[in-house]
């Protein structure tokens, strides 16, 4: 009898050491006797919310109140019974063929319920323009942020521990990191036989004739860096299936209609069987505009028949979410003696990272906007986006506009300085006004460029400083 009791205790201790010490106990010993959270239920609304007409009011935000109270439910604040936590293993190489992935040891780890590799994803590709990006890389990993396998376990720590037991055999491939090198014919190729995966031309008038007719020609190369969105809330997802074969997905995605289309495609399911819930997003800035780990979490949830949550670590956020395109920008601008722009020739090279993502939009907007908000009869913009074995570049606040604005506005001041013209004056002289023709020949309406220039100059007391 005594032995049996001891045995039982030993078993319990084993269990405790192996699993429970790391699995958090969900039961507080002391339940609060009063209210753990206190908040007012009925506050008077701000005047601005109650006033008509509604447009133009500095109306306060109901969600803003909840933010201040700490009541906003972001995805990491949501929990379901039996919920698992998923973690993703990322590629050890910037470019490699995956020879094999062995998850068997990971599956034996404590708390592990399910694993997933790219071979198990029904349609292992996605992307808003080209579907060139895998959900989990297989058989080729094209940058170090590519996921190669995922684990769902009863705690985040168990999932992380299990990742270390996944054996991936890689055959490293030559990689290319520099976008100008990637343009060269003999460079390593990221996809297919050329790294140039999208290009754009904007052509108006005769740029060579315009430059030839110019009094002064200014030439300069500008370049910009890779920048991360840094939403304070990292990407987050919860997926949960029900007995009707429907999956509900809580996602930090900023565009759910198209997100559901992408999910239906990757999971090979009817859209009507997918419910995608866009919760309050803790910062987007363009970085949460396409699916990332949603299909992985959905498939892990399907395999385990349990709700699965995945929260990116800050490191995941940097290496595997999209970032801002670095641009290399060659600007040649010809002006007359009064500083009027006669011609502008621009060549843009976008470091497109390992996958297309929103590059199509970035190169389009970047090219159209590149000549700046100026009346120029002769324009030529040639832009190329190239693959490199680096972090995927995608949408980020401005789709290439901050990059080209840095170049065209720096050069405007170069011109103003060389010709001894006030920077304000040279912009007013060349700037768009109502019915100006854009570089694509569009007649522009609702143009307020000069009003913004003069109001900003007045507020800044620009003329006093220049005097």
């Amino acid at each position: 009898m005594a032995t049996r009791v001891k045995d039982v205790q030993t078993n319990v201790e084993d269990l405790v050491t192996a699993r429970e010490t790391r699995a958090p106990s969900r039961q507080p010993l002391a339940v609060p006797i009063d209210q753990p959270v206190t908040f007012p239920l009925e506050l008077p609304e701000s005047e601005a919310r109650l006033r008509t007409p509604a447009v133009g009011q500095r109306a306060t935000r109901p969600d803003g109140r909840l933010h201040g109270l700490g009541q906003t439910q972001y995805i990491d604040d949501i929990t379901f019974p039996h919920m698992l936590h998923a973690k993703i293993l990322r590629s050890e190489y910037a470019h490699a063929r995956i020879v094999s992935i062995d998850t068997s040891e990971a599956e034996k780890m404590p708390g592990v319920i399910a694993t997933l590799t790219g071979a198990e994803v029904p349609e292992n590709s996605f992307g808003p323009t080209y579907q060139d990006q895998p959900i989990l890389a297989y058989p080729i990993a094209r940058h170090r942020g590519d996921g190669v396998a995922a684990v769902a376990a009863t705690t985040e720590q168990f999932a992380l521990d299990a990742l270390e037991k996944i054996k991936v055999e890689y055959e490293p491939l030559p990689a290319v990191y520099d976008p100008l090198e990637a343009l060269e014919e003999d460079s390593p190729k990221v996809h297919g036989d050329t790294n140039i995966y999208t290009s754009k031309v904007i052509k108006k008038g005769d740029v060579e004739a315009g430059l030839a007719a110019s009094e002064h020609v200014f030439e300069r190369r500008f370049s910009t860096q890779m920048v991360e969105h840094v939403p304070l809330e990292p990407h987050a997802t919860i997926a949960s299936w029900d007995g009707n074969g429907r999956v509900s997905i809580w996602s930090s995605l900023g565009r759910i209609t198209l997100g559901r289309e992408d999910l239906a495609r990757t999971l090979q399911m009817p859209q009507s069987r997918i419910r995608l819930i866009g919760t309050v997003v803790g910062g987007n800035f363009g970085g949460k505009n396409e699916i990332t780990n949603e299909p992985i979490v959905a498939l892990l949830s399907k395999k385990s028949r349990r709700p699965v949550k995945a929260i990116y670590s800050r490191g995941d956020e940097f290496v595997s979410s999209t970032i801002r395109h670095p641009f290399i920008m060659d600007y040649t601008t010809g002006v007359d003696s009064e500083g009027r722009i006669l011609a502008r020739k621009i060549r843009l090279v976008l470091d497109g990272g390992a996958y297309c993502s929103w590059t199509g939009t970035t190169i389009g907007k970047g090219s159209i906007l590149a000549p700046g908000p100026y009346n120029i009869d002769n324009v030529l913009v040639e832009a190329y986006a190239v693959y490199t074995n680096k972090t995927t570049t995608g949408a980020m606040r401005g789709f290439g506009a901050p990059q080209v604005c840095f170049a065209y506005e720096s050069q405007m001041d170069d011109i103003a300085d060389a010709l001894g013209i006030d920077p304000l004056e040279i912009r007013l002289r060349n700037g768009f006004s109502e019915n100006s023709l854009s570089p694509t020949g569009q007649s522009l309406q609702s143009v307020a460029l000069k009003e913004s220039l003069t109001q900003a100059a007045d507020r800044f007391r620009w003329k006093e400083w220049q005097a």
Partner: protein, 336 residues
């Protein structure tokens, strides 16, 4: 020595997708107590879009912002929306909401016309009432009309509609076309101090004047501008993902430096008085463009302060100092 400099930059920026269709749909339901519910498939990503959209629905129905409850972001419930991207929500989703709310309003005008003894086209909404155009003394509270329409006439006040900005495709050879339906404009001016011994740049002030058409909620537009500038400041001076053989070497907020409260200058915001007839109540948008001219105006201010043209971002202290030293060497060579 610290040297002061000032620089400006202006910009243009489009609203919505480049040529590609990017529709939004919306449903507006007016309740029998005169409040309304708006269903939209967009997602609140922090900018305050749902409040702006509520204001647009409220304006169309003659209600106050607080009268409109917004349901968003659930594919089981809310209509199609291209989403919180491309500075399109106020303009595209807003236009869809105006059209949806107008349909609901037309149902109420049909119901109110016989009660007020006029034709439906003689009616307007204002201050939670439906009133006769040109004779506001004859009016009726909107809740009474909704109740009448729904419970007596059997015609609930619900409207659904969509909007897609009209564009013209771009010629593949020349890029000629009308890729966007409208654009916004802005100017930012920076006042900076550059330490010519360390290369360190301190931004003292930024004046930002933006066109967003009608500001539906000026407070939220200001918030977008101030936030956009902070992203622009990081892009200009601090932020850079560094790589070593394809591996990020600073994938954390310890070594990837972004602006803190100590890095941000005083910001003075101005809004241009503009009205775009194609937008909801004249509005265009404000999200992305706020971050566009910031780096450019700071680089021009650095040039004004110390005479060096920064051609590669970010303008870290090392990079600015290197440029200053290079210029000194050149100046000396010229002098010699």
């Amino acid at each position: 020595m610290k040297k002061r400099g000032r620089g400006m930059a202006c910009m243009w920026y489009p609203i919505g997708f480049t040529v590609a269709a990017n529709p939004s749909a919306a449903t507006v339901k007016v309740n029998t107590d005169g409040t309304a519910t708006l269903l939209t498939g967009t997602v609140e990503t922090g900018q305050g879009a749902l409040t702006v959209l509520a204001q647009i629905a409220a304006e169309t129905l003659g209600l106050a912002t607080d009268d409109v409850h917004v349901v968003s972001g659930d594919t089981d419930v809310t209509p199609m929306d291209t989403g919180a991207i491309a500075s399109r929500t106020t303009y595209v989703t807003g236009n869809a909401i105006v059209r949806a709310a107008e349909k609901a309003r037309d149902i109420l005008f049909e119901a109110a016309a016989p009660l007020l003894n006029v034709k439906p086209e003689q009616l307007e909404v204002r201050d939670r009432r439906i009133q006769v155009l040109g004779f506001p003394a004859r009016s009726i509270a909107i809740d009474k009309v909704v109740h009448h329409s729904e419970t007596v006439l059997g015609n609930p006040a619900i409207g659904s509609a969509s909007y897609n900005p009209p564009t013209v495709d771009m010629d593949p050879e020349t890029g000629q076309g009308k890729p966007f339906n409208t654009y916004v404009y802005a100017t930012q001016i920076a006042d900076v101090e550059v330490d010519d011994e360390t290369g360190e740049v301190e931004i003292l002030k930024i004046v930002a004047v933006h066109d967003c058409g009608t500001p539906i909620n000026p407070m939220l537009v200001e918030g977008q501008i101030q936030g956009g500038i902070s992203m622009g400041v990081g892009f200009a001076l601090q932020e850079e993902i560094l790589f070593e053989e394809g591996r990020q070497i600073n994938p954390n907020l310890t070594n990837y430096i972004m602006p803190t409260s100590l890095d941000m200058p005083e910001i003075e915001v101005g809004l241009v008085d503009n009205y775009d007839p194609t937008g909801p109540f004249g509005a265009k948008g404000a999200g992305e463009p706020t971050a566009v001219p910031t780096a450019a105006c700071i680089m021009n201010a650095i040039y004004d302060a110390v005479g060096v043209r920064i051609t590669a971002l970010p303008a870290t202290a090392e990079r600015v100092l290197a440029a200053i030293n290079e210029k000194r060497a050149e100046d000396q060579a010229v002098a010699a």
